[in-house]
């Protein structure tokens, strides 16, 4: 079976969730990757490690305009006779996969968390992570969009061959005027480790210890909604139902009560650590490890413990 996987290689960088998408596609058939922009061949050839035999690259346009990408992926799907197109369910995938579904008349299965079962259904996340559904595409061509951090990446191959092609991307009608992306920070949706804090921290002046912990771990920082609403922290750090939904390997929640709307955006995390003074805080029900204690005493101790561990490992 021929499988096409879309890769966002913007900024000459491939995110881990793209490697996950290639790993996933490899479990379904022979994988061709497709991308646009200026990424170096050496970086693209790396997709071979995870099972792509070939990378089609359209060098005629840069950026993430979903209409151009839709046209390019459709052209590539036609060229390789793809039965299934795989996306990572990230911000770009979320905007492109539905467009492509209409263009190719291919059923779209989004928020996938695993490979197709024996009956052809694919497990997906529904009800903000509170349940799964098993979904089947009724069309001959299918599109699957894989939630980040749903499957581990696997190295199975070597180097992919690179082929430049014309994806007939056409014009863009969405003009990008600028991007405000804090330099040096780990983008939250891609982070494997996240340190997050809530109103229990009392004020923005107390975030130093949160940043220390994140730095010691190599983690991204996040916050609850009231913290972002009060402008203690930037809005893109707000996680939960109305904010960013994340699925890191480790989520450390400090001084956050664990309201259902907060959990909706973080309950896909593999391991959850909760630090809270209130032993009745609802978050403890969702946690793997809990520390009942005052953040102002516990967090500095945790920072020291992490530093000690890192120094000896």
């Amino acid at each position: 079976m021929s499988i096409l996987v879309y890769i966002n290689s913007n900024g000459n960088k491939i995110a881990k969730n793209s490697f996950e998408a290639v790993t996933y596609a490899k479990k379904l058939g022979d994988v061709t990757a497709v991308t646009n922009g200026k990424a170096d061949n050496a970086i693209l050839a790396d997709l071979g490690k995870y099972g792509a035999s070939k990378v089609l690259v359209d060098r005629s346009f840069d950026g993430t305009d979903e209409q151009q990408i839709t046209r390019m992926v459709a052209t590539a799907a036609e060229k390789v006779g793809a039965e299934t197109v795989v996306f990572s369910d990230d911000l770009v995938g979320k905007a492109v996969a539905p467009r492509l579904s209409v263009k190719m008349n291919a059923g779209l299965i989004s928020s996938a968390t695993g490979v197709p079962q024996g009956d052809g259904t694919v497990p997906v996340n529904v009800f903000s992570g509170k349940a799964f559904a098993f979904v089947k595409a009724n069309t001959s061509k299918k599109i699957i969009s894989l939630l980040p951090n749903s499957i581990p990446v696997e190295e199975v191959g070597g180097s992919a061959s690179i082929e430049e092609f014309n994806g007939n991307a056409g014009d863009t009608r969405v003009r990008v005027k600028g991007i405000n992306r804090p330099e040096g920070d780990i983008p939250l949706p891609e982070a494997e480790l996240v340190v997050s804090a809530g109103r229990g921290l009392k004020g923005p002046e107390n975030w130093g210890m949160i940043e220390d912990l994140a730095k010691a771990l190599g983690a991204a920082t996040a916050c609850s909604r009231p913290v972002a609403d009060a402008d203690w922290r930037p809005h893109h750090e707000h996680v939960g139902q109305t904010g960013v939904a994340i699925r890191p390997n480790l989520y450390i929640a400090i001084g956050i009560s664990g309201a259902i709307q907060h959990l909706a955006g973080v309950n896909g995390s593999k391991t959850i650590v909760v630090i809270n003074t209130d032993k009745e805080a609802p978050f403890f029900k969702a946690a793997d490890y809990g520390v009942v204690g005052d953040a102002f005493e516990v967090v500095p101790k945790l920072v020291e413990a992490v530093k000690k561990f890192k120094a000896s490992n």
Binding site: A95, N138, V174, R181, H236, T242, T271, V291
Partner: protein, 246 residues
């Protein structure tokens, strides 16, 4: 200007999730339906703000049966001028988008707003699909929108930050937090909503591309392991040796 806002119902956020018929159907027993928060708070209110500043009308559109009329009236109470209901049970995003696009095409709207996702199926699919059907540009996860004549400037969520984009009318936008401030309907709005026009049109596409075959609940979580607040070395060891995350 003519603004179209897509409105869907959703179970209240605190709904307990359960399934019936051998786990093939969502158990609606005792479920309270609300207007999907992203549709109401952000898409609809932004639509109202645009019309308040530039003149015109806000129409809501919903794919649903007569039971959905209660949520449609709520959206009218917030301030929309009129509503369209496409008389079909919504079964998948592909069907919903195709039905809406068909009606929207005839209406020649300047801006079509959708919420960023519904809080039940979390698909985030309908807006981009409508845009493709109508060959319009689509801006996803808009956090602000300013209109200057025929051109809109939007801020939207980007990986790890915020992107500013410019697009000419007409276009489709999905709305996230920040797009507008929630408005609470007042008594006058609720009374007025009762008499606002709600037009019912029959579906014309009648096809789905996917089927939700069955559902499952996640395995129950094992109890939390409590760690002595004075022993953070133990927590670090557990995260390394047991959870294997650091």
């Amino acid at each position: 200007m003519k603004v179209l806002v897509c409105i869907s119902k959703a179970p209240d956020t605190t709904t307990k999730i359960a399934f019936t018929n051998g786990d093939t159907k969502f158990d609606e027993n005792g479920v309270k339906y609300i207007v999907n928060p992203y549709d109401e708070w952000y898409a609809l209110v932004k639509g109202l703000e645009l019309v308040e500043a530039n003149g015109g009308t806000v129409t809501t559109i919903t794919v649903g049966n007569t039971e959905d009329e209660a949520t449609i009236r709520k959206a009218l109470a917030v301030g929309a001028d009129d509503a369209i209901r496409i008389n079909a049970v919504a079964e998948d995003a592909g069907q919903v988008a195709a039905e809406i696009a068909k009606v929207a095409k005839e209406g020649n709207y300047d801006i079509i707003l959708v919420g960023k996702e519904t809080i039940d199926y979390n698909g985030s699919q309908v807006g981009a699909m409508i845009a493709e059907h109508l060959d319009l540009p689509f801006v996803s996860l808009g956090e602000s929108l300013k209109l200057n004549g025929n051109t809109a400037t939007l801020e939207k969520e980007a990986i790890g930050g915020v992107e500013t984009v410019e697009v000419d009318l007409p276009f489709v936008v999905s709305c996230a937090k920040g797009m507008a401030e929630q408005r609470i309907p007042n008594m006058r709005g609720i009374m007025a909503a009762r008499t606002k026009p709600l037009k019912v049109v029959e579906p014309s596409v009648n096809s789905t591309q996917t089927t939700f075959v069955k559902y499952a609940l996640p395995a129950p979580k094992s109890a939390v392991k409590l760690i002595d607040p004075n022993n953070m070395d133990e927590l670090v060891q557990l995260l390394h040796n047991e959870a294997k995350v650091i």
